[in-house]
């Protein structure tokens, strides 16, 4: 994002003239991408919400009005008011403050899953597509198996083995997430494997690894990044679903899915206990979907 915003104020002639260097060509493409992206109002809204989430997580102690884990049974199950913006839960904890602190958990899950799934998927997919043959067959059979499942069910199977908990949930989501990325990276690799510039690199004596890391993976990056972003929305929903079933983050962690789960028992009398954490999940997941959609229009226009 930072590179895009620095490139954005470029003047018109710069964008349309012929690039004089590789650097200039890259800057031009970045600016055009940024302009396209900024033209998509929904996508910009998505980015703003994500930025807000990051700010919320970073400055949680200053934004929250209460200690998220402080129990006060005399103030239990109070409706929303000026004191407690979103009301209080069954232990008298402030729901607004818990949602603010919960943003940290959401970001933790999304971040951790993304930085494990992305590189693993990229490398496995690129290697398998580049070399082909037996390795490729084996890898594709394994990804076939993973993709044959709805992700939540396979995640549940892993959680059943790993046991309930936040770290286990992250691991289980990552374990089920990489095959989709690997498939995508492999498909991209297959289309560029026989390109002339790969052949040229080979003739110059580059090793297979140099080609994969230097030429293949950078070409796979755009579509993988788009997919990862859209995937983040799914990760949030899966993590929340695990939390709801009591298999994700454990109490008293203010995880949004777990909060809706505890609120469920009091739902009919105390609507706010379920409504606000669920809204938080929806807004953030929507933001990642909007952001991913906008990113796809910029980075990967052919797939839309």
């Amino acid at each position: 994002m930072s590179s895009q915003s620095t490139a954005a104020p470029a003047k018109e002639p710069f964008l349309t003239r012929e690039a004089r260097s590789t650097r200039e060509a890259m800057l031009q493409r970045l600016s055009i991408g940024a302009i396209t992206f900024l033209g998509n109002r929904l996508a910009v809204m998505g980015v703003l919400i994500i930025l807000l989430l990051v700010v919320m997580a970073a400055f949680a102690p200053w934004i929250a009005t209460h200690d998220p884990n402080l129990q006060n049974l005399r103030a239990a199950r109070l409706p929303p008011s000026g004191m407690n913006f979103f009301g209080t839960d069954e232990y008298g904890r402030d729901i607004y403050s818990r949602i603010i602190y919960g943003s940290r958990i959401t970001l933790y899950i999304v971040g951790l899953v993304t930085i494990t799934v992305g590189p693993i998927g990229l490398i496995v997919g690129a290697v398998s597509g580049y070399f082909g043959g037996f390795v490729d067959t084996v890898v594709m059979r394994i990804t076939d198996l993973f993709l044959a499942f709805p992700s939540l069910i396979l995640t549940l199977a892993f959680v059943a083995v790993l046991g309930p908990g936040l770290e286990q949930a992250v691991l289980a989501i990552a374990l089920t997430g990489w095959p989709a990325m690997a498939r995508l990276a492999r498909a991209e690799t297959l289309t560029i494997r026989s390109a002339d510039y790969i052949a040229a690199a080979k003739l110059q004596g580059s090793s297979s690894w140099q080609i994969i890391l230097g030429s293949v993976i950078p070409m796979c990056l755009p579509s993988v990044i788009v997919r990862l972003t859209l995937n983040m929305a799914g990760v949030i929903l899966t993590a929340a679903g695990l939390g709801f079933l009591g298999l994700g983050a454990q109490p008293p962690t203010p995880e949004w899915g777990a909060m809706t789960s505890t609120g469920r028992a009091y739902m009919l009398d105390n609507w706010w206990m379920v409504t606000f954490p669920g809204l938080a999940i929806m807004v953030v997941s929507l933001a990642f979907n909007l952001f991913g959609d906008g990113l796809r229009d910029v980075l990967d226009p052919k797939s839309n």
């Binding site: 059979r141 394994i142 076939d144 198996l145 044959a148 499942f149 709805p150 992700s151 939540l152 069910i153 396979l154 549940l156 199977a157 892993f158 959680v159 059943a160 083995v161 046991g163 929305a233 929903l237 929340a240 679903g241 709801f244 079933l245 009591g246 298999l247 899915g257 809706t260 469920r264 739902m267 009919l268 609507w271 379920v274 409504t275 954490p277 669920g278 999940i281 929806m282 997941s285 929507l286 979907n289 909007l290 959609d293 839309n304």
Partner: protein, 342 residues
Amino acid sequence: MSPLHRRRLMGFLQSAGSIAVTLLLLVTLTFFLGQVMPVDVVSRLVGADADFQTYEATRLRLGLDEPIYVQFWLYLGRIVTGDFGTALLTGHRVIDDIMRVFPATVELGTFALLIGAGLGIPLGVLAAVRRDKLTDHIVRVVTLLGHSVPIFWLGMMGLLVFYSWLRLVGGSGRVAVFYEGMVPSVTGMLLIDSLLAGDWDVFWSAVRHIILPASILGYASMASLCRMTRSFMIDQLSQEYVISARVKGLSTWQVVWGHAFPNIRVQLLTIVALAYGSMLEGALLIETIFAWPGFGQYLTSNLLLGDMNAIMVCVLLVGVIFITLNTIADLLYSVFDPRTSK
């Protein structure tokens, strides 16, 4: 045998082979997931205060003293002969349990699919025809929300609004408690059973109970079906035959439904088949919310109990269902679209 037939046969054998390999991998996965579990199966079976001899005898009987590849072989043998073990939760054979709960899920899923496909496909066509107009944007927002909303939360909100506040629909369960067990179970699907028994009171009670969970489940699948339909339709509408049909003077309605839509039917059939399978995922959470006694609830209660054998049988079953649906989708493609068979 003509070359064409031989090629067809080879193609068939090849896909049968790859399905077999995927199934074998699936069984291997569930076996190893079952192996690494931190639970002592034997003491679960014989009880904590069984004496050493009983413990050892059971351990030997289960083949747990054998090396792992022998155990895998035994496991494979049990699966092939249809022996899936018993569930700790009910004490019944897992397979019997699943047969008992599955019709409820099929009923819910089918109802939801009717809603999802019935709304999603026309909306997707509409969005494609009115591309980049207001209608398209509204449809886009509705589908994006469907992708983003946590389904369990939507279920709870639905109960709160339509059951608790507006009193429009039935609460949790498949039918009002009063009518429970009133009609004999023939298919296991209450809507059909009550019709067979001619009991309209039970039927309407069942409809009032299924409508909310099915709508919410259907909304999720509507979102993805609508999106796919829109992009398929946009592809078709930019083809030359559409332009020539327009030049000929056909109305938009005729062009869209008479010319373009028939060309995306096969693709739609495929994604509808897959959407049907994805219902299982949503059903897992929705059944928990609505106390719907189906497969999803069975799986989650076993998860909470930590009964690995039952969980793995459920996972195996889901995998088999998905592989079957995928195969059916492929078959539909090659039957209805001759271009795809070489």
